[in-house]
């Protein structure tokens, strides 16, 4: 019977803590925006300890949908909001705010990069994703079949990438071998393979995951460096957005102001993205 008593005491404690209503901001959406927000939220809470900021991932589509359904206060979106999405939620006024800039970079396994393939034209990348090119040797690389990694349809990274590379943000990639979700998951798959191509936000590049340089039609080669993104030279760039329903107010407004402040923008830079101003 003692354990029952302990249980009851425990429950009463929980219910009491529950009664003390705290403020909370709910945020969900793109994994590309997530690093900025989750670090910013941790920092912001240091000065506002009574405020809860709950961050969830799931992709840009999740950000838009949950904002539309009123489940969250801020959606993280790494692409434009589509017409269809706007018409699905007629009662919601989507109010996108750019907090940073990012490049979606075609990435390849380091083995291929080191074997000599360091740049491709957009058309060559498109051919890979359409399934017309199946082997790296066709592009002058080693004789290895290409592991084409696609992303889930509603991911912001994919929308931006497909828009520029294939000309349609919802294009079907016939050549895809894997479909994965978050940037983390895609990065892992590329590291585990030695002949993969995928798409990642600039912030996820490292020694094992090499960003491809883009060969432009005039023959010039553009690196996916921060400088090129700032200068708008790199072809596949996008704004990182947070979206609210109507004008933000209260704690949400404070948090967004913090993100746009120089402190907040420093987090954007540290996360590997480009500040907006």
């Amino acid at each position: 019977m003692k354990s029952t008593h302990a249980l009851i005491v425990f429950l009463i404690c929980i219910i009491f803590t529950s009664c003390e209503k705290k403020q909370a901001i709910n945020i969900a959406g793109s994994t590309s925006v997530l690093p900025i927000i989750s670090i910013a939220a941790e920092e912001f809470r240091k000065n506002n300890p009574e405020l809860n900021i709950i961050v969830n991932e799931g992709g840009s589509g999740v950000g838009v949908n949950q904002l539309g359904e009123g489940k969250i206060d801020i959606g993280m979106v790494s692409r434009d909001i589509t017409q269809e999405e706007i018409s699905t939620y007629p009662n919601v006024t989507f109010n996108p705010i750019s907090i940073g800039k990012d490049a979606v970079v075609p990435v390849i396994s380091s083995e291929i990069y080191n074997a000599g393939i360091t740049s491709l034209t957009l058309e060559e990348i498109a051919k890979i994703y359409r399934g017309e090119v199946r082997n790296w040797s066709e592009l002058g690389g080693p004789d290895k079949e290409i592991l084409v990694i696609d992303k889930e349809a509603s991911r912001g990274t994919r929308h931006v990438f497909m828009e520029i590379v294939m000309g349609d943000k919802e294009a079907i990639a016939e050549g895809a071998d894997l479909v994965l979700g978050s940037n983390n998951e895609e990065q892992t798959a590329i590291v585990q393979s030695d002949a993969a191509i995928g798409m990642l936000s600039n912030a996820w590049l490292n020694d094992n995951v090499k960003g491809l340089n883009i060969k432009m039609l005039d023959g010039s080669i553009i690196e996916s460096s921060l400088k090129n993104i700032i200068d708008n030279k790199f072809p596949i760039t996008r704004d990182l957005l947070i979206v609210t329903n109507g004008k933000p107010a209260g704690a949400v407004k404070d948090f967004i102001e913090y993100l746009l402040s120089s402190e907040g923008q420093k987090i954007v830079e540290e996360a590997g993205y480009v500040r907006i101003n």
């Binding site: 589509g61 349809a153 071998d177 585990q192």
Partner: protein
């Protein structure tokens, strides 16, 4: 006073039973209502091979195919392995060790599926990739292997119980006639335990069909039937992995959402049929926690 507590008590137990019974109906109804949109607007086109919400194509065949193949692989590995192991635990192992084996099996059954997923990504997919020299180890086959391990405890425990429930007189009589152990097992024990084995396999079948997390992480998630169709060393998609990855991305009330729920409804119905069949097969009072 006494009468009224008795009455309240009666209402309470009736009420609880109604709630318990109502849950299954509620889930079923909710799934039907939510998938109704897809059934009416997409209709037979649901049975097509293309899934592309952007263009309004909602063919669920690739997911259905993946589900069945993954489950088939899992059963193909787990059923013989499980039955042989159960023969060992019930017919060969001295019964004083039985408790230990049973406890170990319960521990194995207790490993959450997400941890199987983690092990699948960190080990199995890499092994499959290296052994078969593949581009990626995230394949239908990998998911099948992982699933087979997950349903193994179910098959072993239920088969072991089935053998254990057979009275010793059959074994002794057959021994007295000069039969070898494998002849006793093959000709006497297996036929007697057959209904229970059938139940165990059906139950494991249902479990495997519904397993989500581990499969979702290792299957590669591509909505396509492999070509050629028997090339199971290529990525695929199951109903559960599709639901796990895509349901949160769809907006509530859209056809896309409805088509996803339709797949869930299909899975629900298949598993329900298997559960009821297995319940009829398993004679012994089945323990739910195994």
């Amino acid at each position: 006073m006494l009468g009224s507590t008795s009455k309240i008590g009666k209402y309470y137990v009736y009420g609880s039973t109604l709630i318990s019974a109502f849950i299954v109906f509620l889930i079923f109804t909710i799934l039907i209502i939510s998938s109704w949109d897809a059934i009416t607007t997409v209709g037979l086109d649901l049975l097509k091979f293309q899934w592309n919400p952007a263009t309004g194509e909602f063919g669920i065949i690739p997911m259905l195919f993946g589900t069945l193949v993954v489950t088939f692989i899992a059963l193909l590995i787990a059923v013989p392995l499980g039955i042989y192991t159960a023969i060992f635990t019930s017919e060969i192992l001295p019964s004083k060790y039985r408790f230990i084996v049973k406890s170990l099996l319960e521990l194995l059954a207790g490993i959450p599926s997400i941890i199987f997923g983690l092990i699948g990504i960190a080990f199995f997919s890499i092994w499959v990739q290296n052994i078969f020299d593949l581009q990626s180890g995230r394949t239908i086959f990998t998911a099948g292997i992982l699933l087979s391990i997950m349903i193994l405890p179910t098959i072993i425990t239920l088969t072991d119980d089935a053998f254990h429930n057979i009275p010793d007189k059959y074994r002794e009589t057959a021994k007295g006639l000069g039969l070898y152990k494998f002849e006793i097992i093959k000709e006497i024990l297996l036929p007697i335990a057959k209904p229970d084995l059938k139940g165990a396999i059906l139950l494991a079948f249902g479990r495997a069909l519904g397993e989500t997390m581990a499969v979702m992480l290792v299957i590669g998630s591509i909505d396509r039937i492999p070509s050629p169709i028997y090339n199971w060393l290529s990525p695929g998609q199951t109903i559960t992995s599709k639901l796990g990855r895509e349901i949160a991305e769809t907006s509530f009330g859209s056809v896309h959402f409805s088509a996803m729920i339709f797949m869930g409804l299909l899975l629900f119905i298949i598993v329900l049929i298997l559960t009821i069949l297995s319940q009829n097969s398993l004679k012994s009072n089945r323990r739910l926690y195994e």
